[in-house]
Amino acid sequence: MAEVVLEKINKTYENGFHAVIDLDLEIADGEFLVLVGPSGCGKTTALRMVAGLEDISSGTMRIGSRVVNTLSPKDRDIAMVFQSYALYPHMSVADNIAYGLKIRKMSKEEIQRRVKRAADMLELGPLLDRKPKQLSGGQRQRVAMGRAIVRQPQVFLMDEPLSNLDAKLRVQMRAEIAQLQRDLAVTTVYVTHDQIEAMTMGDRVAVMKAGLLQQVGQPQYIYDNPDNLFVAGFIGSPPMNMALAVLEREGADGLAVLVGSARLVLAASVAVARPGLAAYIGRDVAIGVRSEDMEDARLVPGAPADARLRAQVNLTEALGSEIVVHFEIDARRVVTEDTRLLEKHTGAAEAVHHDTGTRFVASFAPRSPVKPRDQIEVVVDTERLHFFDPKTGVAIRG
């Protein structure tokens, strides 16, 4: 087992495309790091460079104590799980799992012992004689995992291993892979475009955009403290709601934001925690609100009037444990490169925008009587508001 260190790693293709830019990452021994980002963000390229399947244009890559820049994949002591599984179709499951060991000229008994152990771990025992085409998607996925763990490598590399599975199986395999990784304690780099996988599986998450690393940290920390609009919009489902607002002074040293026609007075703790906000008084800021930080005003009788947004409900989705409410407020929309990219990622770019205001999504308690086309008031937890520079998208903090 070993740590993986990327120092100023760059990848420039022959056609001039700069896929990965100055990537710095330190993945601790035994850690599960998830690389996440929209398609084309360079995450798979980064993973393939760790694997040795892609040349490194510049920078230093270390696995354990060795610099591996010029080492071929077989000398890096890694195992990779491919998105398409890449099982050898002419070999049985047992041979597929054993292939890497046979290549390394391991003794027959040892191979048999290891294959059996891996098969037991993954419940592949009864399938060992089958060919890949006789397996279901989940079983193939397991064989691919088996092929990786049987080698007992220093590092696991996984390239969107769950994206070919149906939703239910994905949830199950997600838990299984996370469990397996914890049991084996092998350093793992896991690439996905699915932020739910990133949140649920990783010890740490690294968010990438257009070849640039945006933020690295524990999933909950990133969720609560996104460094910029992109991370805020990418991590979390539903994504963080954003609107343009004007920051104003409230009283002697208080702050308030004008969100469309509504005025939200910020708690004193907000200004204390973010001294940087003072510079934005009288100017536009982008505010962000998580869906769970809003509630139907009818359920919070004591809520102050200066913490409410007036909203026009478009759609409600009752999930049992909560009601997801899509509504519109009369604030201006935040439009930056990041929000455009995010819309493209979620497919919202194709949706028709016939609204003039800003769409928010909130999750209300299930006892809320909210109905589509209602005019309602929404209480916002102003202590949990996020603030970003509307031009650069950077979070306003210190």
């Binding site: 399947l53 071929s72 077989k74 491919f82 398409s84 099982l87 179709p89 002419h90 890497g100 085409k133």
Partner: protein, 295 residues
């Protein structure tokens, strides 16, 4: 109830249109079958016809005997020709299959300087009509025979060399197309598993391209067995001839009446090709890569 039954099962109602719906297919089938089988039956019949002339041959011979076969072995060097043909055909087919597979693997999997140029020049060489090169080849091999008689005229090796060159480009293109359909992830996965280039080629890729190997092998064999022009120029010695050249010699003269023997030889010549096709047929099936990646 009764009405419905009768309308559903009575074939009588369809009788008038039987010819229009099904019959014409049978008619075409019968015509095609006759068209295809006529030459075969004619040759078979001539081979069994003891009179051995073209004019006396009928579809159903009057007196069948194996006299032609006896004379074929007794009076000609048929067995030698047969051996020569098998040697040349098999060697040319297997070597060209292997060499082309190597080339196709490189062209399909690696990126190197001259890759495009190489592919293009293979295609261009392929377009040049081979028979026009006979004179040049003859001159070349005249010199080669002087210096290296072992691969010169009247040896199987010189001819095999030529057949290899002729088949290489088309086989390489054919195979490259097939190699391209094998997912690259398989190579990469094997690479991560620790396999070398040759281990990937022999262990992973070759087993998956068996259908195209079988096709090119078969085509190579048939071409080598049937090829006449080059073989006729290169193999003049009676002991080095192939079947195509040797059998032609039987009927080439103006007043020969060896037609029966010629046909007997032709029938025997067809046997290895048919046998090889029967054997390879089971490999020429698609879908071998099913299950490799999500499909």
């Amino acid at each position: 109830m009764a009405d419905r039954k009768s309308s559903a099962v009575y074939l009588g109602s369809a009788r008038g249109s039987w010819l229009r719906q099904v019959g014409w297919r049978h008619l075409i089938g019968v015509v095609a079958l006759f068209f295809a089988l006529f030459p075969v039956v004619f040759v078979l019949s001539a081979a069994l016809n003891p009179l051995g002339t073209l004019s006396s041959t009928e579809l159903i011979p009057t007196g069948a005997s194996l006299e032609n076969f006896r004379r074929l072995f007794a009076e000609t060097r048929f067995a030698t020709w047969f051996g020569n043909t098998l040697l040349i055909g098999m060697t040319a087919a297997i070597s060209s299959m292997f060499i082309s597979a190597c080339a196709a693997f490189a062209f399909s999997r690696y990126r190197f300087i001259g890759r495009r140029a190489g592919l293009m020049s293979l295609l261009l060489v392929q377009m040049f009509p081979q028979n026009l090169a006979v004179v040049a080849l003859y001159l070349m091999f005249t010199s080669i025979t002087d210096y290296y008689p072992a691969v010169g005229f009247n040896t199987p090796w010189g001819l095999i060399l030529l057949y290899l060159g002729a088949a290489l480009s088309v086989n390489t293109w054919l195979m490259k197309g097939f190699f391209d359909t094998i997912p690259r992830e398989l190579d990469e996965s094997a690479k991560v598993d620790g396999a070398t280039h040759s281990q990937i080629f022999f262990g992973i890729i070759l087993p998956l391209v068996v259908p195209i190997l079988a096709v090119t092998g078969l085509i190579g064999f048939i071409t080598a067995v049937n090829e006449f022009i080059l073989a006729n120029v290169f193999l003049t010695d009676s002991g080095s001839k192939t079947l195509a050249v040797g059998l032609y010699g039987l009927v080439a003269g103006e007043r020969n009446n060896n037609f029966g023997i010629f046909c007997a030889g032709s029938v025997l010549t067809a046997i290895p090709t048919v046998a090889l096709f029967q054997y390879l047929q089971r490999y020429i099936v698609g879908g071998l890569t099913a299950g490799a990646v999500k499909g």
